[in-house]
Amino acid sequence: MDIVFAAFDWSFIWENRAEIWSGLKNTLRAAAIGIAGSFLIGVVLGAARAHRIPVVSQLAAIYVELIRNTPILVQIFFLYFGILPWLGYTGTPFLAAWLSITIWGGAFNTENFRAGFEAVPRQFREAAYALGFTPLKTFLNVTLPIGGRIALPSTINTYISVLKNTSLLLVIGYAELTSVANHIQSVTFRTFEMFAVIAVVYLALVWTLSALVRLLEARLALPESR
């Protein structure tokens, strides 16, 4: 074992700390936009699905099935090489980066929120209507807070996937953590050490988020389910 460890050299990590740090920031930036965007898409389209709003509900169903049944990596290619140049966009990969993971997360979140909103008992909404709430106020004050809590664990799992999917943005040259690591290892040949470092970073992020799921599940559980 001594021989194996003696062969390792960790000093290059410190020497390349600026590049690794900027990769981490790019990962977090894309993930933050992806998470916020998929939250918005999920709430809006999930509500449209749960309330069976004509046309929007059917279009949302098609969107969800298209995204869930195709690989995100091919979606990234289709968006970056197909759709964006066709629309006349030929700038940095950042737009394609956050857009692709947002569209993906939005589809999964639509299903999460749809299931959450549908799990809210009908009587709760009827009670709100009886109190004179408009449909929008009923949604914001009754369906969203209760259904959102029911959907919380599954939505956080989707956010974890969104975070992990940022690694795929390597293929379009977005300089996030994985592509930075891949670049550094190709120059230094310190493959094992480089990937060990980013593995620890990813696990720290993912495990923190999954710990958050358990914490929130306990904190935000609906009173009657305790």
């Binding site: 049944n69 990596l73 979606q75 290619f77 197909g82």
Partner: protein, 225 residues
């Protein structure tokens, strides 16, 4: 340069002939290995022996927590490098297969643990009363019943693994996305790459494979659970 008017036929034929078999082979290997390893680990984790539990839990959380691309790149680069005087050689295909299987087996292990623990205690007691030891009890009584609950998530896993085989593109395995991208690059050099049609074609192929399977998973979920 003038483009062959039959370009789409050639592209589609190349993708289907070169890419599709590799994608299916990779998915098949990953699904089989994931199922076998995952079911064994998922059953073993129900043994009340802390060190073993902690070890399997670590395996599950690490391979589920890492992006599959990171796992695959790590295996690919370290498996073709010299580590401590040993020289490992693992082809790109097998690096991808191992990476996908590590992730898949962690998923199966977690699902199996839940399914095995959901079998009522009386089943264990009845099997013990008939003289079965731990291995016999699980092989003949507990796991066969748990499998019923495992079928819907297993179909879901199959869909996920088929889609995630595209990650092998990054290390150059000639699967659907890699062959499509090759054709796209060739056509781009010849003037027009037709990215819309080529990547749209790949999306359509995956949709045709995945959609019936996700419907099946939803149907089985209603019927079996």
């Amino acid at each position: 340069m003038q483009q062959d008017p039959d370009w789409f036929r050639n592209v589609a034929e190349y993708i289907l002939r070169e890419g599709l078999p590799t994608t299916l082979k990779l998915a098949a290997v990953a699904v089989i290995v994931s199922t076998v390893v995952g079911m064994v680990l998922g059953t073993l984790i129900t043994i009340p022996f802390r060190p073993l539990r902690a070890l399997i839990r670590l395996y599950i959380e690490v391979w589920r927590g890492l992006p599959i691309l990171v796992t695959v790149l790590f295996i690919y680069w370290t498996a073709t490098a010299e580590v401590g005087g040993f020289r490992f050689e693992l082809s790109a295909f097998w690096s991808a297969a191992v990476g996908l299987s590590l992730w898949g087996s962690a998923q199966v292990a977690e699902a199996t643990r839940g399914a095995v623990q959901s079998i009522p205690r009386e089943q264990h007691e009845a099997a013990s009363a008939l003289g079965f030891g731990w291995v016999g009890r699980h092989t003949f009584v507990i796991v066969p019943q748990a499998v019923r609950r495992l079928i819907p998530p297993m179909v879901g896993l199959l869909v996920n693994i088929i889609q995630n085989t595209t990650i092998a593109y990054v290390i150059g395995v000639s699967e659907l996305l890699e062959t499509a991208n090759r054709q796209f690059e060739n056509l781009t050099l010849a003037g027009d790459g037709h990215p819309f049609v080529i990547f749209g074609f790949v999306l359509a192929l995956f949709f045709l494979i995945s959609f019936p399977l996700t419907r099946l998973a939803a149907y089985l979920e209603r019927r079996l659970v």
